[in-house]
Symmetry: C2
Subunit: 424 residues, 2 copies
């Protein structure tokens, strides 16, 4: 479980003038730092550098005897699918390997729903008056962008330390057939690092839904992205959904974007046999098959599921100190005042920081004017609107450790100043 730190106040905020002075000094440093995006650092990318020699001239046939260089095959390379079937705990027949982005797979699943509908859809979603979608908040901005781009109305529900608020979700889904889907990031969720519990997962896959074609897009983006020895695994949603009699409800996604190369990884889609058939049917009009050479390259590099696990421990060595620095500086600088709380994630790519209500956008503005780029306030909410204007997503993976420290110290100054301003 993710720890959320929110100490009661043991000290009063320093005077406004003192914080303004501290901020002026911060500005005077002329920093140029960036905590905006969950990108792997060059040091992390270097871990996969040997892949740039792979598969190597003369090696182009995969386990199934396929010439990976030629056209064909919508399923993707068997060897890489076997490795990720083990990691994701899904049958290999129900797992497809795709191109370089699970974001594209998610977009295309929703786009196919709009254009064609799911097998049980009364009509293509584009012909419905209204399609609505449940978005746990804080959440991932690019999930929200997919909904917004495709004209889907978003309904926020709160995240908890155990995953989305299942009761709130069930109430929304039970009677309203326009509510046709929801996002879930089951492991080390973006941005708050929560891992969904089996109880919550079971509730979501078994709750009655008024829409016959209700879907949960289960974005397991951080399935193996641990930051501690406690390598948690989220519950097997596909199996739970099948047990609950809703085998088609969950469509699962994953990728190697934050394992090998962020721009040149392999994406995965898993679902029920009916979902796989539906997806491939529509994909077949658009695709000549994924890049099977890249699949072979990845399979050779990893060797096995254990190879992936081993590789991820190297990422952890680079990432964990950065996350520790974020949490440590937040505790040191803000812990006494009771004006902020933050997550201490055991994996994933983000720390979710709640500042004094109404001040998140001011914190981001102050940081920007001091040369520290933060994700825009509101980005973790649908339509970019955080009703309490208090959530800030911190992404410490990309900058070197010393820059993370410098940036976070500056962020703390901005959080304090914004809080003091709001009280003055």
């Amino acid at each position: 479980m993710t720890t959320t730190t929110s100490s009661p106040a043991t000290a009063t905020l320093p005077p406004l003038a003192e914080l303004q002075q501290a901020y002026a000094e911060l500005q005077a440093r002329g920093l140029k730092l960036d905590l905006t995006r969950g990108k792997p650092s060059a040091q992390q990318l270097d871990l996969a550098e040997p892949m740039l020699d792979l598969p190597g001239a003369g090696t182009h046939t995969d386990d199934a005897g396929t010439d990976t260089r030629n056209y064909g095959g919508l399923d993707g390379g068997l060897a890489i699918r076997r490795i990720f079937a083990e990691l994701l705990d899904v049958p290999v027949e129900q797992l497809l390997a795709g191109g370089n982005a699970s974001l594209t797979l998610m977009h295309d699943v929703v786009a196919y729903a709009e254009l064609f509908g799911f097998p049980e859809s009364p009509k293509p979603w584009a012909r419905e008056e209204t399609v609505r979608w449940i978005c746990p908040v804080p959440g991932y901005d690019r999930h929200f962008t997919i909904c917004e781009a495709l004209g889907i109305e978003m309904i926020p529900v709160p995240m908890t330390v155990d995953g989305p608020d299942a009761e709130a979700v069930a109430a929304l889904v039970a009677d309203d057939p326009t509510v046709k889907g929801m996002w879930v990031v089951p492991t080390y969720s973006n941005p708050d690092g929560a891992v969904i519990t089996e109880d919550v997962a079971r509730a979501l896959v078994s709750m009655p839904a008024a829409a016959p074609d209700f879907r949960i897009l289960w974005d397991n983006a951080y399935a193996v992205h641990h930051l501690t020895d406690d390598e948690v695994t989220s519950p097997n949603a596909l199996a739970l959904a099948a047990q609950a009699g809703n085998p088609d409800r969950v469509v699962m996604f994953a990728s190697t974007s934050k394992i090998t190369f962020a721009g040149a990884g392999v994406s995965f889609l898993a679902g029920s046999p009916a979902t796989i058939a539906w997806y491939k049917k529509h994909l077949s009009a658009a695709s000549i098959g994924p890049d099977k050479i890249n699949h072979l390259r990845h399979a050779m590099f990893f060797g096995s599921a254990d190879g992936v696990r081993e590789h991820m421990r190297k990422h952890r060595e680079i990432l964990a100190p950065k996350f520790e620095a974020v949490v440590q500086i937040l505790a040191e600088r803000l812990g006494a005042y009771g004006i902020a709380s933050w997550t201490e994630p055991k994996g994933g790519y983000f720390v979710s920081l709640d500042v004094a209500p109404g001040t998140a956008s001011r914190v981001v503005e102050l940081a920007k004017d001091a040369g520290i780029a933060l994700t825009p306030a509101g980005a973790t909410h649908p339509y970019g609107k955080d009703p309490e204007n208090m959530n800030v997503r911190l992404a410490p993976s990309m900058p070197p450790l010393d820059e993370v420290r410098t940036a976070m110290d500056g962020v703390a100054t901005c959080v304090l100043l914004a809080a003091a301003e709001s009280r003055s």
Copy 2:
């Protein structure tokens, strides 16, 4: 210009019984040959085998200073775009490099039109009662599949040796706003090898269209795929369209699928600045950027546009003898009887064979029963329906030369028998 061979009859068909005997002997050989798909052969794929070592560990920064391993950038690698901008004669700012299939780009452009419409569209196409699309025939089955999958009604127009019948197209487009698009394969068209003339290109890009959002998807799949010393270039459609005051009408596509690796190439989309902006806007919801490492790999392998041209001459050495064999055997076996005509393409991947009217499906069936797989009759027409049932697409690239000879000799036997049957 493609030569179409169609000699007048100088001999009468052999007797049915004799042809039946020849066919029985063909069947007795127990062949297992395949002329169905325009796939490169293993020998052709071997030409790019050194790419499997590229870019090589330590090499991951592109010309623009971008770390190709990380997220970001919808335009694609600058170096590979420069090379193909020269080859396709388009400004590099108007050329995007994408994933491994131009088919996906074409599908997505039409899907975006369905979901969102083009900038001038009165509404998204999915909300229109009827959307119609002009399909020159014979044509490419996967173009037709995109239309059919997206619910677009297809209208066939004849291909000529100069490209699509521009008068027929202009008449369809002039008054009917439901006619919103057409396919063109400008260079060495699939399957008949025609290269569009400048007159036809100019007519298509300048004709008045009732639909404000009329588009021509200009699939330049075989731009550099020459089979002779006469390395023809199709007219610059984007420039002609801009001159005609219809800059957004043409969206051009190309790829390296039949240059490097069919399953792991690079695709390209070119269009007006407005088209590029429209496409990127919608792509941005679905993509974290294309595989820039593969772009770098390709740029390193080619070095320059001349590198591509040089590479294509090696393909020609492998392909030209196969095409020569097809044409030679057709001439030897069928030339005297006036029952068939065929193209003698100067590039591309296909020979288009017209057999005795009403017998194409019988030819394909006879061939199949003799162990020779041919593209289904009708595949070169929308909905798989060739009204005259006479066109057969021959794809000789994949099998070795001796198998091409054996298969074509068998096909000739089938063509003769089907013709004799139809007269008896």
